[in-house]
């Protein structure tokens, strides 16, 4: 965790400088006063600057994440509460409240955008590598289940028709869910194809199996 020493005329000023340096509030920092300031005799002799050592708190990431998301959502004039928990290396932020549909957006795009921005802000502010997951009303879980369902359905279709089935424009996280859902099935294989963030997923029925079935 990064730590720096800062000098200023007064301790308060040094703390303010530290907050600006890290783009964090005082609460996210551990501050140790090395030398307090002194104006000396009549402000002439022995003038001494304040010196502090500042360390970013271990769990400042969670505070920054929660505060950033809270602020963005309140600026969208939506009234919610945000709870934050740590799950291993990840931080899970849960938006509590009714009517969070507007924060989910079409196909979860708004939720994804919020998550992306909060991730950037946290990793920038604390210089750590944490992943922030933003969720509301169990949306992530529901999405995962529905994706798994879709993958299995498409897998069945590929096997039945013996033709490749393609699912269009899937983001990396969702793609992973699809690949994993069909990994155990020896009759089909899955492949990603395309450029950029959003790729297609092909579900390909295995040739060998098909040939055997045809000859047999």
């Amino acid at each position: 965790m990064s730590s720096i020493e800062i000098e200023a005329k007064t301790t308060e000023e040094a703390i303010k400088k530290a907050c600006e340096h890290f783009h964090l509030t005082e609460g996210a920092l551990d501050i140790e006063v090395l030398e307090s300031s002194s104006t000396g005799i009549f402000g002439l002799v022995g003038n001494r600057k304040a010196k502090i050592r500042v360390t970013v708190k271990e769990d400042s990431a969670i505070a920054v994440a929660q505060e950033t998301l809270r602020k963005i959502i309140s600026l969208m004039s939506i009234d919610t509460k945000i709870s934050a928990v740590r799950k291993g290396d990840d931080i899970v932020l849960n938006i509590e409240g009714n009517n969070t549909g507007i924060l989910i957006g079409h196909k979860g795009r708004t939720l994804e955008a919020l998550e992306f921005i909060v991730n950037k802000a946290v990793n920038r502010a604390t210089e750590t590598k944490v992943r922030v997951i933003v969720d509301t009303e169990n949306y992530r879980k529901r999405k995962e289940e529905s994706l798994k369902g879709l993958a299995l359905k498409m897998g069945e279709q590929a096997k039945r028709t013996k033709k490749t089935v393609t699912i269009d424009s899937v983001n990396p996280h969702d793609r992973r869910i699809i690949h994993l859902a069909l990994k155990g099935d020896s009759q089909i294989q899955t492949k990603s194809d395309g450029e950029g963030l959003f790729k297609k997923v092909h579900i390909i029925p295995n040739r060998k199996k098909t040939n055997k079935e045809e000859s047999g």
Binding site: H23, T68, K71, I72, L75, M76, S77, I78, I102, L103, G105, R109, T110, E112, A113, L114, F116, I117, K120, A121, R124, A125, G196, L197
Partner: protein, 79 residues
Amino acid sequence: MIEMKDLIEYIAKVLVDNPDEVRVTELEGKQTSVIELRVAKEDLGKVIGKQGRTARAMRTILGAASTKMKKRSVLEILE
């Protein structure tokens, strides 16, 4: 009343290295308002992101906030 401008300003400030140089102006039209974002030259990449991903995320959030206010807003990132 909260303006879209403040939303973009806050998001931009948490992303850049020079938050003091973030400038946001809002041109309000009858139906659509245009929000113009200016940042320090070296921060331009930070608000745009890889393949425009950050800019797209900001536009998505702006879109959602605008829907809530029953209006339309467009984000322009200016050099």
